[in-house]
Symmetry: C3
Subunit: 138 residues, 3 copies
């Protein structure tokens, strides 16, 4: 059985972190499926997903990494063509990746105790975002 849904978010960009854990757990519960996987996918080239301990220190450290790897103020070939100021956003999102797959067992996500689902909007402006949620199981 497959259940498809979307999570909608209003975001502000600039690597703003969002915790999707509760929303994803709710979709799994509502599917009534017992075992399977949830695939989360960002239908965007300037946002990405991973997991992290969602506390301000770890989030700040993780965002610093991206400031070092792909700083906003550098020259980007993307910006030379498109002038939208988000060349760094594309590099960051492609590196971190758009998909995350999490197994669930007995109707519950197999996340660790201190592990949450992190959506990062790397774009440089406020946006309305949708994350695809595909639940496959039995």
């Amino acid at each position: 059985m497959i259940h498809s849904a979307r999570i909608e978010l209003e975001t502000r960009g600039h690597a703003e972190p969002h915790d999707l854990t509760e929303a994803v757990a709710r979709h799994v519960r509502e599917s009534k499926l017992r075992s399977g996987t949830v695939t989360l996918f960002c239908p965007s080239s300037t946002s990405a997903l991973t997991t992290i301990e969602f506390e301000s220190g770890a989030l700040s450290d993780f965002r610093r990494l991206f400031d070092e790897l792909a700083a906003p103020g550098r020259d980007y070939a993307h910006e030379q063509r498109w002038h939208d100021g988000n060349g760094h956003s594309h590099v960051r999102a492609a590196l971190l990746g758009p998909s995350l797959v999490i197994p669930f067992v007995d109707g519950r996500l197999t996340l660790g105790t201190w592990q949450q689902i992190l959506f990062l909007d790397f774009d440089n402006k406020a946006r309305r975002r949708e994350i695809v949620v595909q639940i496959a199981g039995e």
Copy 2:
């Protein structure tokens, strides 16, 4: 239902980018499945997958990141043992990762408008590559 296929490519290496979007969409259409996930997998330790806006600027910026993270001209322990000149290729591929999972709904990939599937061959020579395509759905 599960459909397995392979996409074959002739590649030149050196982080050469390939857009797999059309080939993957065609496999999904041919499967006749309506909803599910496509799992793409590189059966190789010197190539990797992600998504990106497939335009020359963003691709160039993304490749620069890998030149900075794992430059070809550095010392690599892998090369000291194997002398095949692709120590940096292994580091890059392991970081970006071999698998990508994309949901499809109503027979269509849920990619964003400006988002394409990127296969990067990080090796240092021309190769024949296969990418595994596994479609699971209903």
Copy 3:
């Protein structure tokens, strides 16, 4: 059909590498399924998964990358709050990512000849770890 299992490991941390290939292949064989995907997931925010050629040179090169991206000796906001000395572990694990999805066909993982499954424990102390193995197929 879905089979759920866990792989248990005793780890020492500090980016210690573990090759999970044989354990995962065994779970696939025992499932008796012919085609599908294995989803591996780290229920932890300080460990991660990818694939690599599991030889000492490539492993050493890959670990050097993380020493450069997120060195243990730097200041981390996570440590200022929690004083557990593993701020760098969180950054590394979130970057590499907790999930890995590998297709299998005819009961065999589609890994390349020189490609193994790598679990990296980035934490700063010995731990008992479990990796979730979810096999879906037919």
